[in-house]
Symmetry: C2
Subunit: 459 residues, 2 copies
């Protein structure tokens, strides 16, 4: 890791010196040795003027790749500084799915200006890509694929592929269509180059195609690419016409987004908060208000629910009885332990549900886990409480209620996500704050009932 | 999604009927149309005898692919049923990294038996793969790559590639080494097939190689493949000799494991619990004991820390003063709200830390978020408490302590992961239960101080 970071640091200072001394040729040669991502990284650390200078020096294909990596601000900032011809040439080389992603974030008129610079075909393709929802497979697909007709020979297919290779995001799969443009097969480049030149594509291709519909959730594409170890997956419409492909690098991007999304939801906040918190271009004020917006709904819900525990607590007689006043001391720890085991078991259930179905057996399993950990924790608590308070009644109330509360906590934590799933609601709504609040309410009730029963038996 | 599940359901019943009627040829033809993963899926749902029958019908390469997907029990179960020659032929076609993964989980003697069936070269390769730690890049790499010498011509390189293509996991990159077997360049199949046959590899190859060391953490490979959009990454030793490659499908598997790992840690449990909970071959007893083992350390730690809040609470004078007894009612909600906002802000900090460095400015930002959300929640609480209790002193204590507690909760949640990172400890130790317990202790202290100050002013 250090190795790579050092490399880009060196590159940054080298680049700055070359720009200062106006050594354009040397700069261009130096940049051609580096990966586009590293060049993009150092551009983000350059001053405005140097950034533009460096961009103008780049060969057209590298400039296009830089724009593919960039966000919308970087994109429109750079483009506003270039003359029309230069702009046109770079845009022509950009991957259309990345362009559509950026254009979708631009204002109407700025978008129109850029669309006018595109060739008719590219403009049509981009327009079509702009229609699809961000969360759908259409929203992440690209039109940069190689498509061949099923009746081509291998020789024709290879020469067709060479011709279209430049615009393709991947040439490792070629997609085979019939005369109605319907996807009927797939052929890997590997199969194509080891085949005899006179063979017909139809006889070689695999007809067992793993594909997704253009309006499906993009997570379905992630699932299939991951399950079948694909490098790209074709996207078709409901008439089975080929509309685009999704390559594995875009699948990885989606996975990274979705992985952190789960954790944010579990902590009771949202993806917007993450997106803005991780975006270095946002001001602190924007970050703060996005955090407030994301968190406040859950905070208000748990606050109102939490006041329920206050209402229940107000029924506890022992508060008025000085003899048992010390029972109040153990309210936080009894409630807290229910919340803790509930958080653990709900996380297990939420995560397991994303891979497979869980049934209510899971709740029984959690109950047993609650019983075992409850016995261990109750033993510890009974010893400590006895040492300090030496009142067997108080020890009994605290120990029994802690024990019951941990079992209930484990069961509720394991049960709520399953219940939500059965009700066709999103189980990831079950966040740690929600579980903690629900378990505060049940915990207080358990404490109330336990003390009432035990103390009445004694009295 | 339904489409695919239905397909495998249909396949399962078709297969069962063909096996029952002993229609071997038809079965073989049917299976060849399906993806290996689908066949593996239905094998898991077949009865023992049918499973073996189906496996024996499979062409050798498909049988090898099935074993690559399988876990250790499936693997040794199937192999124990085959004769030596058949076993040998299948093992020869297996990818060595998958074989090493499975062999590493076998008993010593069973492993030796299988190693004896391998060719000398394969056995040596597997032995080397077995040395590397599971969490290192060496632990997930494969030796199935195509390596060419830098002085080969394009023509020689292509014919070399064709020869070794069958054993290679990917042929989309070929790796260029010098005469000492050191990695000096990389060439994509794409570049190779569009180049002139007489060109020398050294003149075409890219020398700017993204690689990982064989003893680095596998997450470094994930980071680089994701950052540079690679399909495979070469693995080298410290002398820069090429040892293997990691393909993007293995990167995706690691990402899936690591993503859930973060969430489990945040919920205060561990990856072992997840692994066993997600393994359908484990008995309920094994699952329960793995859950207890994973959770009990955090439960005991939070229990002991939680008893600290009991000790602090025992200093609260108002418990003994019936006039202010109702202040007890609000302990759970005041503590709970600190815990909730702390969970949110700690999740944000833990997740952000995995991408970039955070400084203590983050704590200031969290403090401001705490102030804004605190004002909103305090207003709500003050109105509700006033309606029900109508004692302005109690309203004041509850509102002020809730407000302070939310600010402290947000700051501590945002601060602890950063502190851990600065101390070179793993910030993901900061789990929701730990945050909740710490905030119970600070929350009780805040409540104690607030009530003491406000009530003494009044008295």
């Amino acid at each position: 890791m250090d190795r790579k970071q050092d490399a880009s640091k060196d590159l940054l200072s080298e680049v700055t010196i070359l720009i200062e001394n106006n050594k354009i040729l040397e700069l261009r040669e130096l940049l051609e040795e580096y990966h586009i991502i590293d060049i993009f990284d150092i551009m983000e650390n350059l001053e405005e003027n140097d950034k533009i200078k460096l961009f103008e020096v780049l060969p057209l294909d590298m400039a296009a790749s830089i724009l593919e990596e960039s966000d919308v601000e970087f994109f429109s900032n750079i483009l506003s500084k270039l003359d029309t011809e230069h702009k046109k040439n770079i845009l022509e080389l950009m991957s259309l799915d990345d362009m559509a992603d950026i254009l979708s974030q631009l204002e109407e008129d700025e978008r129109e200006d850029i669309m006018e610079l595109l060739s008719q075909k590219d403009a049509d393709d981009v327009k079509e890509l702009l229609i699809y929802e961000e969360e759908s497979t259409g929203g992440i697909m690209t039109t940069g694929y190689v498509q061949i007709n099923e009746y081509m020979t291998v020789k024709e297919a290879i020469s067709h592929m060479r011709e279209y290779a430049e615009d393709a995001e991947t040439i490792y799969y070629v997609y085979v269509v019939d005369n109605e443009e319907r996807l009927v097969g797939v052929l890997s480049l590997r199969e194509l180059i080891v085949a005899r030149e006179s063979n017909i594509v139809k006889d070689l291709m695999s007809e067992n195609i793993i594909s997704v519909f253009v309006d499906e959730d993009r997570e379905e594409a992630v699932r299939l690419v991951s399950k079948y170890n694909l490098i790209a997956i074709p996207v078709i419409d409901r008439e089975h016409k080929l509309k685009g492909i999704i390559t594995v690098d875009d699948i990885i991007d989606v996975m990274e987004e979705e992985a952190t999304e789960d954790m944010y939801k579990f902590a009771g906040t949202s993806e917007q908060e993450r997106d803005i918190a991780q975006n270095i271009n946002k001001t602190p004020t924007e970050q703060i208000f996005s955090s407030v917006r994301a968190r406040i709904p859950w905070l208000i819900i748990t606050l109102l629910a939490g006041l329920l525990s206050s209402a229940i607590l107000s029924n506890l007689d022992f508060i008025m009885n000085p003899k048992y006043a010390s029972l109040v001391f153990f309210i936080p720890v009894v409630l807290g332990m229910g919340g803790n085991i509930g958080t653990q078991s709900s996380a297990l259930a939420v995560m397991s549900l994303s891979n497979k179905d869980l049934d209510f057996n899971n709740v029984i399993r959690e109950a047993i886990v609650g019983i075992i950990t409850g016995i261990i924790c109750s033993l510890i608590v009974s010893i400590i409480v006895f040492i300090f308070i030496k009142d067997i009644n108080i020890v009994l109330v605290v120990t029994v209620s802690l024990f019951i509360n941990m079992i209930v906590g484990a069961m509720i934590g394991g049960f709520m996500p399953i219940l939500f799933k059965k009700l066709d609601a999103d189980p990831s709504i079950i966040s740690a704050p929600v579980i903690a609040t629900v378990l505060d309410i049940t915990g207080i009730t358990i404490y109330l009932v336990t003390t009432t029963i035990i103390l009445s038996k004694i009295a």
